[in-house]
Symmetry: C2
Subunit: 244 residues, 2 copies
DNA sequence: CTCTCCCACATTGTGCACAATCTGGCTGGT
DNA sequence: ACCAGCCAGATTGTGCACAATGTGGGAGAG
């Protein structure tokens, strides 16, 4: 298990203690998002503590936070593992995204026209980055940028609470994709995103929302959510909290 | 600050360690939900540890979990406080609920008719409880039952992920209500809920979803989200993580 | 040779002691 | 009288030592 070493291994005095934790959360979160840490990977407290140059207690706290966000799974007395969503959970996450992102697009479509130039500019700048990543076949960058695109739209919609919820769902859909993607490499969604921007810039009511639904459907359809799970279930883990 | 003593003060051996934590989370969560712990209340680790008969470490972990759910606010070196949403956050939470609960009602409306008898029966049983609480003017029970009603609908819709998200939003809207409700006591929503059930049992497409939107709008409109905050902001807390 | 039981090791869980920080009041100076 | 600075008490934060638990391998019997 390799994790990207932190940019600065605790050299400068931390401006605040909690920012060290958010840094670690982000590091691990990104490593999970771009698949350097595939679902099921064991996250040993000691190793992480050494890698990030912090005490085990701090790592423990970070893992607890990530577990709340369902990005890692905590099994009592067994340790922390990168979460491995079930097919059902994967479907639920995509449906939740459709629900939330449809409303985000509807809200953006409901904004007074023309849309702020700055908004469109930032979206198009982002799209340029996505194109570049696609050209370079930089899969990790594509995944990260794709998530950021959806989050960017959420921020423009102006509801930080919904954006926060969506951020978690994006992380989890990344896990779902990692766990269920088919062998056949799929052409990623830069083109879809371009069309979404065009629909927003244009004026056909409902088009952007419909495109977003279609986009999320397309991503979900590229997954193999029908085959039965070949990895056998860990019964002990499942029943760890049952009465004796 | 008084908190309901736990039912059994750590007498029987805990079946598992984590269930003790979930018990405390629920105890505190319920105390917050039905306003025994109003927004802004300080939650001292030591006191909670004593009350629940556990070590301070465990309380600390519980507070971290509740902070993730935005039910309590953690201020470094200052302690934990029952969260006090801003007006903006309150509006965002209600909009998020409209988004999610509209889709839940749409999904329920899309189920094959007639709806399962058991589902309607459970909803009507629940409604009976709400009526009883309203008759008895048991405000705490009304609040709790109202939240459970919305959660029940979410469960019937069959998406556990969305239901989990909604559960958090319901808690937070309870906080928003506690923080912003007007002096004038409002007639609570038992009648609205009755109409929702009727719309679901009936067959007019879109009616239940529309009623849900109206219901949530009505609850939000009963709040006073326009007056400026009289409680001065804790600047130190806000800038605790800023660079020096 | 295989299967089971058991033990040693590795990893996680917990309480405690001490360090760091904040609050509120007190004191001394102007 | 008022204000600044400071000190004591209270509260939170952190590392460490040890306890509890799970895992894997090896020994011994069949």
């Amino acid at each position: 298990m390799t994790i990207a070493a932190p940019a600065k291994p605790a050299r400068r005095a931390p401006r605040s203690r909690s920012s060290a934790e958010t840094r670690i959360v982000r590091s691990i979160g990104e490593a999970i998002a771009d698949r350097r840490l595939p679902p099921g990977t064991k996250l040993t407290e000691e190793s992480l503590a050494e890698i990030f140059g912090v005490s085990r207690e701090r790592v423990r706290k970070v893992l607890l936070l990530l577990a709340q966000r369902r990005v890692v799974t905590l099994i009592p007395n067994r340790g922390a593992f990168v979460a491995k969503p079930t097919a059902r959970e994967a479907r639920e996450v995509f449906e939740a995204r459709r629900v939330i992102e449809r409303s985000i697009m509807e809200r953006l479509e409901g904004m007074p026209r023309p849309l702020p130039a700055e908004m469109l500019a930032r979206l198009r700048d982002h799209e340029t980055l996505e194109d570049a990543a696609e050209q370079a076949a930089d899969r990790k960058a594509m995944i990260r940028l794709s998530g950021q695109f959806h989050l960017l739209l959420a921020e423009f919609a102006g509801n930080a609470t919904l954006a926060g919820i969506l951020a978690d769902l994006i992380d989890r859909s990344g896990l779902a994709i990692a766990a269920f993607e088919r062998q056949s490499s799929h052409t990623c969604s830069a083109e879809d995103h371009r069309r979404l921007i065009a629909a927003l810039a244009g004026n056909a009511p409902g088009e952007a929302a419909a495109l977003m639904i279609a986009h999320l459907d397309a991503v979900e359809r590229q997954l193999d959510l029908d085959t039965k799970p070949e990895t056998r279930i860990d019964l002990k883990a499942i029943f760890a909290d049952e009465p004796a």
